[in-house]
Amino acid sequence: MVLLVLFIAIYGLIVSDNLIKKVMCLSIIESIIILSFLLTGFKEAAEAPIITEGIQVFVDPMPQALMLTAIVIGVCFNSLAVAFIVKLQKAKGTVNVSELRER
């Protein structure tokens, strides 16, 4: 399932002409990567990694801590990208890559 969604997102990233859709596809790819990392720390019937008395089995806290940072970076990226796309729409009147020329 993860691979299927990943391939759809990559396909969308390559084929889509709309910059907003490209950013959405990138966001999906990033979410899949983050989910995959969280899965590496998952254990069946384990507790949250807040270590108190009586808790013997807990999930690996490392991926969770690291992926929180990655999520924050992702949010920054998305907000910045969307802000620039809005500015580009105002300046050029389009967000379609086939209509936007560098020169």
Binding site: I14, L19, E30, S36, A70, I73, F77, K87, E102
Partner: protein, 504 residues
């Protein structure tokens, strides 16, 4: 020694913190007294970072080991790592920092100066960091600031293009980090020590993902189209940093996270991949550059050729030679961008004063790698051992030289700061004095080089006028739309899978 190892700890922590403290102070003083002190604080920050950086260079330039500093005693504490190779990257950061002291006026608003300080903090953190996850975080701090600095002049398309390529490479890097963690390794720069115990099959995929990510960050062909667009779209001070340091983080990552583990595993195919893509990166972007009609895009695009040359030397394991090239590149490339402030461009004519044009000529010789530039001596240090590369190198050099000579340079009267020119002269003399390799001068090749220069002049003259229809070859044909450019990432990934024999 100027600094003892006990004090190195404070230098390593202070280096990325100085710009952050400067930001806080500038904002606080602006809020309290309504005075904008950021022009002064930016200069003070640059001076402080120069001092700390030079102390680190002095400490580590002849140090053979790997110095590891942990902030706390905790197992997962943030660690800083420094070794002799990082000195080269530090120099590549310090040189544009020194030149930028004379051009801080390019950053006109408080906001742009603060973003620039964030950028400097990201760069500094990237140099001293000791694990790959913090490398990723500092890289993002640096690159997010760079996106804003590119967009600040109104070049939103260039910034978005930069963002797309940056995000794709970061996604690949993150995927590699996950696979590495899932294979049982931690993210330290010294993870190569543990690598022998991991599953070789998994590690091959980790190296593949890292290699692709760093190829994009380092702008290896065919994922190099963004360089000319993005590096030329911003103010000259940012352009100089982007082309002297930021793009070389790809080389930095390639060395630490791909080639070092590959050497330990004796995984030769990775070197073959780097060699093949470096050769293409030397030749094709040089050809594209020949048809490039804009001067600033030419300066930006020529960095890709240098990346190819450095990659080639790395694929032959000549790391010191490669990183010396990078440090010298960090001297002349920022100058080419910063002197752009003193230049008047009308069509194909570049008009500037005598001193500026003289420095441009020296920088062009360095870029193409002709005598008496230091790149010439680096090139012959490589060609002495690997003569088979001669034709490829000479063709690329000729194309690079003719791509600059096609512009018509004219002298005009224009006043500029003498201190800046004196600093440039001192730095150029200093790097000649400190050059660590042999000054190889094979006699018969002088004639060959003279022939190449003459042919380059011929190429840049009437012949270029005839081929005018091919002008802007990259955006008209090779990288026609953004979708095609992104598709090249898939081609890069698949071709590596085939060369590394991980599929088929």
């Amino acid at each position: 020694m100027l600094v003892s190892f006990e004090n190195v700890r404070y230098l390593l922590i202070a280096f990325p913190l100085i710009p952050l403290v400067t930001i806080i102070l500038s904002v606080l003083i602006n809020y309290i007294s309504k005075k904008d002190i950021s022009p002064v604080s930016l200069i003070v920050n640059n001076l402080l970072q120069l001092v700390v950086g030079l102390l680190l260079v002095a400490r580590f330039i002849d140090y053979e080991g790997v110095h590891i500093e942990s902030i706390t005693q905790w197992q997962y504490s943030i660690i800083f790592v420094f070794d002799r190779i990082k000195v080269y990257f530090l120099i590549a950061f310090l040189l544009p920092l020194l030149f930028s002291l004379f051009h801080t006026k390019s950053l006109q608003k408080l906001e742009s100066r603060l973003i620039f300080l964030f950028y400097l903090s990201g760069c500094s953190g990237l140099i001293v960091t000791g694990d790959i996850f913090n490398f990723y975080i500092f890289y993002e701090v640096m690159i997010m600031s760079a996106y804003i600095l590119v967009a600040i002049n109104g070049n939103y398309y260039a910034s978005i293009k930069y963002m797309l390529f940056g995000a794709i490479s970061s996604a690949l890097l993150l995927a590699g980090i996950i696979l590495l963690y899932a294979s049982g390794a931690y993210f330290s720069f010294t993870f190569v020590q543990e690598i022998g115990e991991l599953s070789l099959y998994n590690i091959k995929f980790v190296l593949l993902l890292f290699c692709t990510a760093f190829f994009i960050k380092g702008a290896f062909f065919p994922v190099s189209s963004w360089v000319a667009t993005c590096h030329s779209a911003t103010n000259n001070i940012t352009s100089s940093f982007l082309s002297a340091f930021t793009i070389f983080t790809g080389i930095y990552g390639l060395y630490y996270f791909v080639l070092q583990p590959a050497m330990l595993l004796e995984y030769e195919q990775i070197f073959l991949v780097v060699k093949i893509f470096s050769m293409i990166t030397m030749l094709l972007p040089a050809l594209i550059l020949y048809f490039e009609p804009e001067f600033k895009r030419c300066i930006a695009g020529s960095t890709v050729y240098s990346i190819g040359f450095i990659g080639l030397m790395m694929s032959y394991r000549l790391f010191d030679l490669a990183f010396t090239y990078m440090a010298i590149h960090a001297c002349y490339k920022p100058l080419m961008f910063l002197l752009h402030d003193y230049v008047d461009i009308k069509g194909n004519a570049i008009r500037a004063n005598k001193r500026t044009l003289a420095i441009y000529m020296v920088c062009i010789l360095f870029t193409a790698g002709f005598f008496p530039s230091l790149i010439y001596f680096i090139k012959y240090n490589l060609l002495q051992d690997y003569a088979g590369l001669t034709i490829l190198t000479q063709i690329s050099m000729m194309l690079i030289l003719s791509s600059f000579l096609k512009f018509r340079f004219k002298i005009i009267r224009f006043r500029a700061s003498n201190v800046f020119y004196i600093t440039i002269l001192c730095i150029i003399l200093l790097i000649y004095f400190l050059f660590p390799f042999r000054f190889v001068m094979p006699d018969y090749k002088f004639i060959l080089d003279a022939g190449i220069i003459l042919f380059a002049i011929f190429l840049s003259g009437k012949l270029y006028q005839k081929w005018h229809k091919l002008s802007a070859l990259d955006t008209k044909f090779i990288f026609k739309t953004l979708n095609v450019e992104i598709f090249y990432v898939v081609i890069l990934l698949v071709s590596q899978l085939v060369i590394l024999r991980l599929v088929f």
